[in-house]
C-alpha cells in the first residue's frame, strides 16, 4: 500500500488534509510489522486501480515526504557501526523510491544527422580508424543480409543477424586491444569480424564443413576463435558472464595489460548468471567490461516485460560497479565509452558496466517472424530513421573521408566475396566422422572408441540411413 502513495502528489496532499496523515506518522508508536496505513483509514476513492497506467508510465516519481530524496541531508555526526562499516542514521522513516525522478541520461556524441553535438566529450577517431569502422559496419550489414538469404534458401540451417546493432559491434571492437579476451553472447560477430575473422571463416562455421574450427559440432553463428581471443559462442544465455569474471581475474593475476569483455542482451540480465557475474567481478576486483546491448526485445518479450528498473545501467551500482548508459547507435559514443571503460578496467583493476541503448531491427533469428509481436512501422522507423550505419556514414562523408563511389565499390565487392565464400563453403568436404567422437575429453575414452567402431560398422552395413560425405 505504501507503494501506491508514491505515485501521486495530489493524492498525498488530499490525504494529509483529510486524514491528518503527518499526525499519524509522528504520533504513533507502531511496531515495524504494522502497516503504516490500514484500510479503514482510507476512503475507497483514493485507491488506485493497480493495473491502470502502471505498466507503461514513465518511471518518474513525485516528491513525497516518505521517500528519500537525493538532496536530503542526514545527521552526519551520528553514525552506527555495522559489519559493512559505518552508516549514518536518521529518525525519519524514508523509503528510497523505486526509481529516480529522472532516468539515467544516455551519452551520445553524434546527432541523428551525423553531426557532432557541440561540447561533446569524445575520444577523437582518425580518418583511418573511422573509415575502417565504417567499412566493417557496412560489411557486417552485407554479411548479415547474404547469410540470412542463404538460410532462407535452405543452404544453411540457421542464422541470426545483428541488424541495427552494427555500431555496438564494430565500435566496441575498435575500442579494445587484440589481447582483450571477448566472451560474446551471440549477436556480436562484428567483434570477430573486426579482429580479422574472414568471411570465408564465417561461412565455414555456418556450413559446418571440414574447415570449420568448431568442427561442425554447433549450429551456425556459434563462432569461436582462440587466435582472435574470442570465446566460442554457446546458446545458453548469460553463462559467459561469471566466466568473464574468471577470465578477468586470470588476466589480473598474470598482470596483463588486458581485460575480459563480455556481451549480454537486455533479456539476459534477468538470468541469475548476470547477478553472479557482476557480483563476482566486483568482489574479485576483476578487470571486466560488461556490455549490455539493450535492444528492446528478447525474442518477443519487450523490455517492459523483462524488468521494472530504469534499464540495466542502474543495476551496476547495486554491485558496486561503475556504469554508463550510451547511445548504442552512435559509433563515436560507443567507441569512447568502451575505450574509457577498458582503460578503467585495466588501470584500476575493476569491472565496468556499459548499457548500450539500441534496437533489434531484425527478427530474433531465422526461426522468428517479429511482425507477429511488434508493429511493422516500429521496425521501419528504426531501420530507416535511427540507422547507426547511415548515421556514422554521414559523419565520415562530411569529413570527406568517404564517397558514394567508395560505398558502391565496398558493397559490391563484399557481396561478391560473400557469395563466393558461400559457394566454396558449400562445396567443402564434410568433417570426418571421427570428429563426432573427438574432444569430448582430451583423449578418446574406451566407451567412445567402442561406439565409434560400432557406428562405423553400422554405416557400412546401412549406408542409406546416413548422409553422404563424412569419410574418415
Amino acid at each position: 500500500m505504501a507503494i501506491w502513495f508514491a505515485r501521486s502528489r495530489t493524492l498525498v496532499s488530499s490525504l494529509r488534509q483529510n486524514l491528518g496523515l503527518s499526525a499519524i506518522f509522528i504520533k504513533h508508536n507502531y511496531s515495524s510489522r504494522r502497516p503504516v496505513f490500514t484500510n479503514s483509514q482510507l476512503s475507497p476513492r483514493v485507491f488506485l486501480d493497480p493495473f491502470s497506467s502502471y505498466r507503461h508510465e514513465s518511471t518518474a516519481v513525485e516528491t513525497h515526504p516518505y521517500l528519500v530524496q537525493q538532496s536530503d541531508h542526514e545527521d552526519d555526526a551520528q553514525e552506527l557501526d555495522f559489519p559493512g562499516g559505518k552508516v549514518g542514521y536518521t529518525s525519519e522513516m524514508k523509503f528510497i523510491p523505486e526509481s529516480s525522478s529522472r532516468r539515467i541520461p544516455c551519452y551520445r556524441v553524434l546527432n541523428e544527422h551525423g553531426k557532432i553535438i557541440s561540447d561533446s566529450d569524445f575520444i577523437p577517431v582518425s580518418e583511418k580508424l573511422a573509415v575502417r569502422m565504417y567499412e566493417q559496419m557496412a560489411t557486417l550489414q552485407v554479411m548479415d543480409h547474404i547469410f540470412y538469404e542463404a538460410q532462407r534458401q535452405g543452404r544453411i540451417s540457421f542464422y541470426l543477424t545483428s541488424v541495427g546493432e552494427e555500431a555496438i559491434n564494430i565500435a566496441s571492437a575498435a575500442a579494445l586491444s587484440p589481447e582483450d579476451v571477448v566472451l560474446p553472447q551471440y549477436r556480436e560477430p562484428g567483434v570477430l569480424l573486426w579482429r580479422g575473422f574472414t568471411l570465408e571463416e564465417f561461412a565455414n562455421q555456418c556450413f559446418g564443413n571440414k574447415a570449420d574450427y568448431g568442427k561442425g559440432r554447433q549450429m551456425p553463428i556459434h563462432y569461436g576463435s582462440n587466435q582472435h581471443n574470442y570465446f566460442t559462442v554457446s546458446s545458453p544465455i548469460a553463462t559467459q558472464l561469471p566466466q568473464a569474471a574468471g577470465v578477468g581475474y586470470a588476466l589480473k593475476m598474470e598482470k596483463k595489460n588486458a581485460c575480459a569483455v563480455t556481451f549480454i542482451g537486455d533479456g539476459g540480465t534477468s538470468e541469475g548468471d548476470f547477478h553472479a557475474g557482476l557480483n563476482f567481478a566486483a568482489v574479485m576486483e576483476a578487470p571486466v567490461v560488461f556490455i549490455c546491448r539493450n535492444n528492446g526485445w528478447a525474442i518477443s518479450t519487450h523490455i517492459s516485460e523483462q524488468f521494472r528498473s530504469d534499464g540495466i545501467v542502474v543495476k551496476g551500482q547495486a554491485y558496486g560497479i561503475r556504469s554508463i548508459r550510451v547511445d548504442g547507435n552512435d559509433a563515436l559514443a560507443v567507441y569512447s565509452a568502451v575505450r574509457s571503460a577498458r582503460e578503467m578496467a585495466v588501470k584500476e583493476q575493476r569491472p565496468v558496466l556499459i548499457e548500450a541503448m539500441t534496437y533489434r531491427v531484425g527478427h530474433h533469428s531465422t526461426s522468428d517472424d517479429s511482425t507477429k509481436y511488434r508493429a511493422a512501422d516500429e521496425i521501419q522507423y528504426w531501420k530507416m530513421s535511427r540507422n547507426p550505419v547511415n548515421r556514422f556514414k554521414k559523419w565520415v562523408e562530411d569529413n570527406g573521408w568517404w564517397s558514394e563511389e567508395d560505398e558502391s565499390k565496398l558493397r559490391s565487392s563484399t557481396r561478391k566475396q560473400l557469395l563466393q565464400a558461400i559457394q566454396a563453403a558449400e562445396k567443402w568436404e564434410k568433417q570426418p566422422l571421427t570428429e563426432l567422437f573427438n574432444d569430448v575429453y582430451d583423449v578418446k575414452t574406451k566407451n567412445l572408441e567402442e561406439q565409434e567402431l560400432g557406428l562405423k560398422e553400422l554405416v557400412e552395413k546401412q549406408p542409406q540411413d546416413y548422409p553422404l560425405g563424412f569419410h574418415n
Binding site: 559440432r217 566460442t232 545458453p236 558472464l241 541469475g272 574479485m284 574432444d439 574406451k446
Partner: protein, 358 residues
C-alpha cells in the same frame, strides 16, 4: 605403483557408527615411504597443499574456504599461498563454477568447493552446458580441463534432505566431465591429485561421513591414483559387489559376515564413475557369475542401473542370478527415518544370500 602400495600398506580404521560398520584394521609394513595417520579431510587438505605447491597457476576457492572450510579441508592454504590464490567467494554456486570455468579456460587450475553436494544444482547449467561441452563445442580451441569441483556428499547420520544427498547419477549422464568418488583418506589424496591434474573437468564427491571417521596411513609425498581404473579390494569367487565412497565400508562388513556363512565375496571399488572401468567389473562377474551393486542414492535411475545394464549386455550367459541393487529408497533423504532409508549391512547381506541362493 600407488595401488600396489595401497593393497599392502593400508590400515583403515572406522570407529563404530550408526550404520553398524566397523572396519577391521589390517597392518603391514610400508617400505621406505613416509606415511602419516590421517583422516579424510586431512588427506584432502594435504592433496590441496601439494596441488597449489606444484602448480603456481592453481587456485582454491568457494564459500568459507579461507578460514579452512566448514569441513577443514582447506586449512592453512590461504595462509600459505595467499588470498589471491585461496579465497572466499560470494554465496553463489553458479558464480563459483562459472568463475572457475573462466579461470580454467585461461590455462589455470581451479579447484572449486561446493559446500555440500546438495547445493550443487544452481551450478548444474554451468557444469553440464558449459564445462562439459567447452572443449567439444569449440573444436578443441578452448578447454576448461583445469576445473575440479569438490563437494562433500552422502549420509552423515543427521543430515536430512539437504546435507546427505548423493547426486552422482545426474553427473554420470554428462559426456565431457569425469566423476570421481574416493573411499578412504589414502585414496582421496591420490585421486584428488589425479583429478586436479586431469585435463578434463572433474566432479569430485567426498564422503563427508568419512571426513573424521576414517583414519588411514597416507603417504606424505606427491602421488596420484589413476582415474577410470576400478580396484578389486577384496577377492572372492561367489559374487561380485560393486560400490564407491563410504558405502564400501558397509559392503565390506557385509562381505565379512557373508564369509562366516561360507560365501566368498569379491568387492570392487569403482572410484571413477564416469568414465567407468567396465573391464574390471566384467572380468570379475565372468568369474563369479553374480553381481550386487550398492549405493546410498535412490535406487531408481541411480548409477547402479547403468552398471547393471552394461554387465547384463556383456555377461548375460555367465550370470547365475539377476543383478541385485541395494540402494537408498525412492524418497527425499529423510531425517528420523535415515536408518530405514539406508542400504545397511544387513540389507546387503540378505541380498548377497538371496543372489547366491537364486
Amino acid at each position: 605403483m600407488a595401488s600396489l602400495l595401497g593393497r599392502f600398506c593400508r590400515k583403515l580404521v572406522v570407529p563404530g557408527s550408526a550404520h553398524g560398520a566397523r572396519m577391521v584394521s589390517t597392518t603391514s609394513s610400508c617400505g621406505s615411504e613416509t606415511v602419516k595417520s590421517l583422516n579424510l579431510y586431512s588427506a584432502i587438505n594435504q592433496a590441496l597443499h601439494i596441488a597449489l605447491e606444484t602448480d603456481p597457476r592453481s587456485y582454491v576457492f568457494g564459500e568459507d574456504v579461507g578460514f579452512g572450510g566448514v569441513f577443514r579441508c582447506t586449512t592453512g592454504l590461504a595462509e600459505r599461498f595467499g588470498k589471491n590464490r585461496v579465497f572466499n567467494t560470494p554465496l553463489c554456486e553458479q558464480g563459483i563454477v562459472g568463475f572457475g570455468i573462466g579461470l580454467a579456460a585461461m590455462g589455470n587450475r581451479a579447484v572449486v568447493e561446493i559446500q555440500f553436494a546438495d547445493y550443487i544444482y544452481p551450478a548444474f547449467d554451468q557444469i553440464v552446458n558449459e564445462a562439459a561441452k567447452f572443449r567439444y563445442r569449440s573444436g578443441n580451441q578452448f578447454n576448461c580441463g583445469g576445473l575440479t569441483i569438490r563437494a562433500p556428499y552422502g549420509a552423515v547420520g543427521h543430515g536430512g534432505h539437504y546435507h546427505s544427498q548423493s547426486p552422482e547419477a545426474f553427473f554420470c549422464h554428462v559426456p565431457g566431465i569425469k566423476v570421481v568418488i574416493p573411499r578412504s583418506p589414502r585414496e582421496a589424496k591420490g585421486l584428488l591429485l589425479s583429478s586436479i591434474r586431469d585435463p578434463n573437468p572433474v566432479v569430485f564427491f567426498e564422503p563427508k561421513w568419512l571426513y573424521r571417521q576414517a583414519v588411514e596411513e597416507v603417504p606424505e609425498h606427491d602421488y596420484m591414483i589413476p582415474l577410470s581404473e576400478a580396484e578389486v579390494i577384496r577377492e572372492g569367487n561367489d559374487i561380485t559387489l560393486v560400490g564407491w565412497g563410504a558405502q564400501l565400508t558397509v559392503m565390506e562388513q557385509a562381505c565379512l559376515d557373508a564369509e562366516k556363512e561360507g560365501i566368498s565375496c569379491e568387492l570392487i571399488d569403482l572410484k571413477t564413475l564416469l568414465p567407468w572401468d567396465k573391464e574390471t567389473v566384467e572380468a570379475s562377474v565372468k568369474k563369479t557369475g553374480r553381481l550386487l551393486i550398492s549405493h546410498e542414492a535412490p535406487v531408481t535411475g541411480g548409477f547402479g542401473a547403468e552398471i547393471s545394464a552394461t554387465i547384463l549386455e556383456r555377461c548375460f550367459l555367465k550370470l547365475e542370478a539377476p543383478v541385485s541393487r541395494v540402494c537408498g529408497l525412492d524418497t527425499p533423504f529423510p531425517l528420523v527415518f535415515e536408518p530405514f532409508y539406508m542400504p545397511t549391512k544387513n540389507k546387503i547381506l540378505d541380498a548377497i544370500k538371496s543372489t547366491v541362493n537364486y
